[in-house]
Amino acid sequence: MAYRSVNQSVRKKDAMQLLLGKPVYVEDIVPKDALVVKLLRSPHANAIVQDIKLDTALKVAGVEAIYTWQDVPQTRFAIAGQTYPEPSPYDRLILDRHVRFVGDPVAIIAAENEKAALAAMKRIKVTYEVLPAVLDPRTAMDSEILVHPEEDWYPPCEVGGDNKRNLVASGVEADGDVEKILADCDIVLDHVYHTKACDQAMMETFRTYTQTDRYGRLHVISSTQIVFHCRRILSRALGIPKSKIRVEKPRIGGGFGAKQTAVCEVYPAFVTIKTGKPALLIYSREESKLAGSPRHEMQMHVRLGAMNDGTIRAIDLHTLSNSGAYGEHGPTTVGLSGHKSIPLYTGRLEAFRFSYDVVYTNLQPAGAYRGYGATQGIFAVESAVNELSEKLGFDPTVIRDKNMVREGMVMPAYYGETASACALDRCMSRCRRIFDWDARYPVRDMGNGKVRAAGVAMAMQGSSISFVDVGSATVKLSEDGTYNLILGAADMGTGCDTILAQMVAECMDCDVDDVAVFSADTDVSPYDSGSYASSTTYLTGKAVEKACSQLKKQILTIAAEMLECDNTGLLLFEPKGIRHMWTGRVATLEQIAYKAQCFNTHPAEATASHTSEVSPPPFMVGMVEIELDKETGKVDILDFTAVVDCGTPINPALARIQTEGGIVQGIGMALTEDIHYDCKGRPMESSFMQYKIPTRLDMGKLRVEFESSYETSGPFGAKSIGEIVINPPAPAIAHAIYRATGVWHRDLPITPEKIVMGK
């Protein structure tokens, strides 16, 4: 289908502002005289604050206030940005006497400047009763040490959690008799895979500014993906009505899910509520790494049953997820480890079982990171399928052709949804062709101590959370016949403001430049769950389509009066105006817009919301070629080729950049992004010096192509793209490393040390 504005690589609306360094982020736009907020953090993984002495700290010149657990409201809340009632337990206080990880805040310091705040922090004397800590997720469940012994721990949803067992959530889902089928298989692979608590490492750390607005309300300007959830969270945490809070976001310096959690908003908000003064909290890089909201560390036990001819008949997956000291996103991320991995093999699967336990530990709490559990599950299941292929002596792409999900199949492991739009088979054959799989799959010894080898993986994700997420849009006609698009979704750099404007332009038959976009502000924007769960293009996009068709009706109604026509069916919507089919008279959009402002009762604007009963998966195939140095264990990525089915790419350039960015994050997760804890439970990789994200020298050539299906429930046939793209690199790279070395690495990241040691 030929489109005028969608499926076009339009420049992002904010591109030149960003590239020319204009002040558009939180720290650039807020007043410079705000109180500087700093947090004193616990050095212990599990401790009770016995005593805090503030007297000398309060004497530091410029200190406005210091707050401790005795000063804050005693209502527990969750900081996960999720639709109410949240699956995440209410297990936090703004400051708790019981601190549960190294980095848990003990005191909030507000001062006129940073120096004073830091000087005061040094002078606070805290006496802790240090408790033994739960530092190993594998022994956390039913440990006698409880991370959350408190009686007021509260789960708003029933998700199988029990704080008296260190359990955030647990559950089992199954279809068919897994044990029986496994017993009947020629071969059963049984392996355990492990992924780490990777850090989103968005370049702009967590930050929030708060002030009292001119109506005496709390006005929050935050780098957040979730303005509406943030307002609700603050309301509960601070004990003030939602009508007294306004949350807005300016441009965001990256999120990747980190900012789907209200990591830092409550602290400056509390300062502003108490002092009435503006307050600004900016996390250092170190704080972002110690007390952020990283990926859930997961251990996945896969049992994969197959026949000697390569038919995959049963998958049994158990995931143990480490939620850390608090439960945000714990019950939901784990679900994706099964829901977004097992269905890839719907083709011949006769039975599956997916069970999980999510545990509390005294480690940094995890949250939402692009891929949201799917990344972990796909590493495990895709690795197991690669192991199966190698064991049976099959080309792993052939085994996938035989077993993969195909268009029209019902996916029992994916809520029974039908793969209504699925080009996974075409992605595979195209990827095989452009990567030249047949030539590169065989291992090649380069004769200089280096080996070249290739690996492959498939992936899926969802598009929004079915039966939950709500996307909304308001479209208004302006006097000159242009449009305003007002959103509650959050463009965090991905370009969704532009993508949604392209949809308005397509619907209203105007130029993208004729659509001005605003997002997001709880006072102004229509309600939107926010930008996460791969929902914005798919869900908010559909809301944009609906709002446009309503606005067209409004415009026709106004035009009908002007053209003295009592049947709007006779009116034609044309680019610059409305034409009466019979009389040929035209009312220009400009005339209509002015009419709307004078002696008129029909609004020249429309708001629409959309929700979905399905979450159509995008699909992807990734292939990698590596060069491995047998002496040092160093792995160089030579080529990563990916073919993605995201339905119609609304903006192919932006879809491509999403894919490239996701692949490079996936390469980091596979090879370098490591987390170790010292004996006290403190992460040792607390800066970019130790936590190595890929530089532009650490990725080889990236090639991205699209093989589109058409998803009828999405706008213009679109599905999602933002998250899926991080999933294939880890299993594909682990596969290539096996090909080069003969050793399967089931523990990420696969560092040169591990490769050299052969384990």
């Binding site: 030149m16 890089r285 960015g661 970019f688």
Partner: protein, 155 residues
Amino acid sequence: MEIKLILNGKAVTDHIEADTLLLDFVRAHGCYSVKRGCETSNCGLCTVLMDGKPVLSCSTLAARADGHEITTLEGLQEEAADFVGFIADQGAEQCGFCNPGFVMNTIALLRENPDPTDDEIRQFLAGNLCRCSGYEGQLRGIRNYLDQRGGRHGI
């Protein structure tokens, strides 16, 4: 202490604390393009030019700028506008938070080596982290810019 410097072509005299970082100094003087992404000199977001050479303003004392010429992206809007449109055409600006440092370092590169190869570009910009774009789009943008002005190293 008092320092005198040229900031984006204008003479500036100011009293500073001895431990003031150049990054905080330029931001305090309205150069908000300069960003902080780390505390360990690893990200390159804070890149400015000192006497035309790129430096990390997060690990340079403002006192060291005394008597020197400091340029931030605010002072190089036209030179930047010349090529950043090519990056915009790729959509590679993404969140934008790394852009000013990356653009400043690219300007430094192109002044030093007007016709770099792709590998020279990667090497020169290796210290500029970007978590969003995956780097390829930035490279394509620079390459397209060089090609249209007749660079010899295009592929």
